[in-house]
């Protein structure tokens, strides 16, 4: 008789791990523990259609509760795990309950990076990671959004998607980016320039090279003091400064940590009875060639499948390249691959249009492509990466050359 498989974190990874465990033959109980009161939901729409009000919570659940009933997976929601006892093979919840496990899956995800600014504790200052965060933001904007002024601190994808969604609601939005361009950490300048232009044209005020000295207000935020001394009026401030992996529980349990819970290619941690998957974990990626911690839904899903197999004593190799996407206004960005370590950037198509792609190489090797309203080229890039085919600069830069011909 198999015992319990406990999944900590009601996340994207958990929503895949539970059914995959049944498919791989796990017969014991499956218990998913989450600190939010909700079953696993899609996080990407939070900064997009959920913020804009186009979608409700029910519409962003990854699976309805009935789907988990069918596979006999149980939930304990609104509870945090405060301790893992590896010797006893138990976990302890905030409410004092202790549960035994035979296998444990850590899908603890990540949380927004906190920035130590004066005034960050004021009402009206929000991070953006959970349904509760969005409900808070929407609550503060209620009434006439077109009279609201929102300052977003951080010009990464979350900040920019949020800016686009709020702009659509008529909100007056300013984005403050400390670095000299938006998206600096993740893309080439040509993509940064593109989004800067698109947001400016839509009426979002983007200021780069602009730090924040303090958030001002009396109980409730009313302004942001920029590093150049300028004071910007603000009804709401949203901070998007990246995420940090939730590793504390694993660390306290003595598991290896390396920019995330360190697992192998099979999602196995340094304890044979514990796996980890998703944003909280780092692993040696066969195709990227180094240990990485990927912050993406497809990665969480793939790694969860691998983890489920490992729990059931099987090893499956994950040979998929990472990919990412971002929706802003009418622009769909799809990113194939991972551009870390690139030395060459090639543009395919007209970078001044709203449809082109940017290709990243290290030497002759294709690493990644950022495709703007270019779904076809995204699919081709993904396939080129999967097959290990490196297109020549001449072929990439000639939009009339059919990249598909390289795949034959």
């Amino acid at each position: 008789m198999q015992g319990n498989c406990i999944i900590i974190g009601a996340s994207h990874a958990a929503a895949q791990l539970a059914p995959s465990l049944r498919q791989e033959g796990w017969e014991g109980r499956i218990i998913i523990i989450g600190d939010e009161p909700h079953a696993p939901y899609h996080r990407p729409p939070l900064s997009k259609t959920f913020l804009s009000g186009e979608k409700t919570l029910d519409q962003i659940l990854i699976r309805p509760l009935a789907a988990y009933d069918k596979i006999d997976a149980e939930f304990i929601l609104g509870q945090r795990v405060k301790h893992i006892d590896r010797a006893q093979k138990t976990i302890q919840l905030d409410n004092g309950d202790t549960l035994e496990y035979e296998k444990l899956a850590l899908c603890t995800g990540s949380r927004p990076r906190q920035i130590p600014l004066p005034g960050v504790e004021l009402n009206g200052v929000h991070y953006l990671r959970t349904v509760a965060d969005i409900e808070g933001i929407r609550g503060d904007l209620k009434g006439d959004p077109s009279s609201a002024r929102v300052v977003i601190i951080g010009g990464g994808y979350i900040g920019l998607e949020t800016a686009a969604a709020l702009n659509k609601l008529g909100v007056n939005v300013t984005v403050l980016e400390m670095m000299d361009r938006i998206l600096q950490r993740v893309t080439a300048p040509v993509i940064s320039d593109f989004y800067h232009r698109v947001h400016s044209e839509a009426g979002v005020n983007i200021q780069t090279g602009m730090g924040v000295d303090a958030i001002l207000g009396d109980g409730k935020v009313n302004a942001v003091q920029c590093s150049n001394g300028e004071i910007l009026d603000a009804d709401v401030v949203i901070i998007g400064a990246g995420i940090v992996p939730n590793t504390e529980l694993a660390e306290a349990a003595g598991l290896d940590i390396d920019n995330g819970i360190a697992v192998d290619a099979y999602a196995q941690s340094s304890d044979p009875d514990i796996v980890a998957a998703g944003d909280c974990s780092s692993y040696p990626h066969a195709l990227i060639g180094s240990r990485v911690r990927l912050e993406s839904v497809p990665n969480a899903t793939e790694q969860a499948k691998t983890a489920a197999a490992s729990i059931c004593g099987k090893q499956i190799d994950n040979h998929s390249h990472p990919w990412f996407w971002s929706d802003q206004y009418d622009i769909k960005l799809q990113i194939a691959g991972f551009n870390m370590g690139y030395d060459t950037v090639l543009v395919r198509g007209d970078k001044n249009s709203r449809s082109f792609s940017v290709w990243y190489f290290k030497g002759d090797q294709l690493l990644a492509a950022d495709c703007i309203n270019q779904a076809k080229e995204f699919m081709q890039a993904k396939q080129l990466l999967t097959k290990g085919i490196n297109p020549s600069p001449g072929h990439v830069c000639d939009p009339d050359f059919d990249l598909k011909s390289l795949l034959a």
Binding site: I62, K70, I71, V297, A375
Partner: protein
């Protein structure tokens, strides 16, 4: 609720009741039907919910928009009846719909 029939590449059949207003991809996800990956969760961003709509049903499907068309052109083994199942919003008229799933989404 409309009953959707999913037929995998080996010919195995799965039936699932799917709510009106949901979509054919979500029906597969909710019922743990393999063969639809749906990596992006229905944002028309990934083409991992590719399916073939049975010939008898093709003209009852919603029109293909440009983002879907671009993705469809690059899926493994595209056919005339290829669709992304996330874009097939279920209506009362779809009761009995048959979709065939490809052997692989990559």
């Amino acid at each position: 609720m409309p009953l959707i029939n999913y037929v995998d590449a080996s010919g195995n059949q799965f039936e699932a009741e799917v709510e009106v207003g949901s979509n054919v991809m979500q029906g597969a996800i909710d019922n743990m039907i393999d063969g639809i990956l749906a990596e992006c969760g229905g944002a028309c961003a990934c083409a991992t919910c590719h399916c073939y709509v049975d010939a008898a049903w093709q003209d009852k499907m919603p029109a293909i928009e440009s983002a879907e068309q671009d993705l469809l052109e690059a899926v493994v083994e595209p056919k005339d009846n290829s669709r992304l199942s996330c874009q097939l919003v279920v209506t009362e008229d779809m009761d009995g719909l048959v979709v065939h799933l490809p052997a692989s989404q990559y």
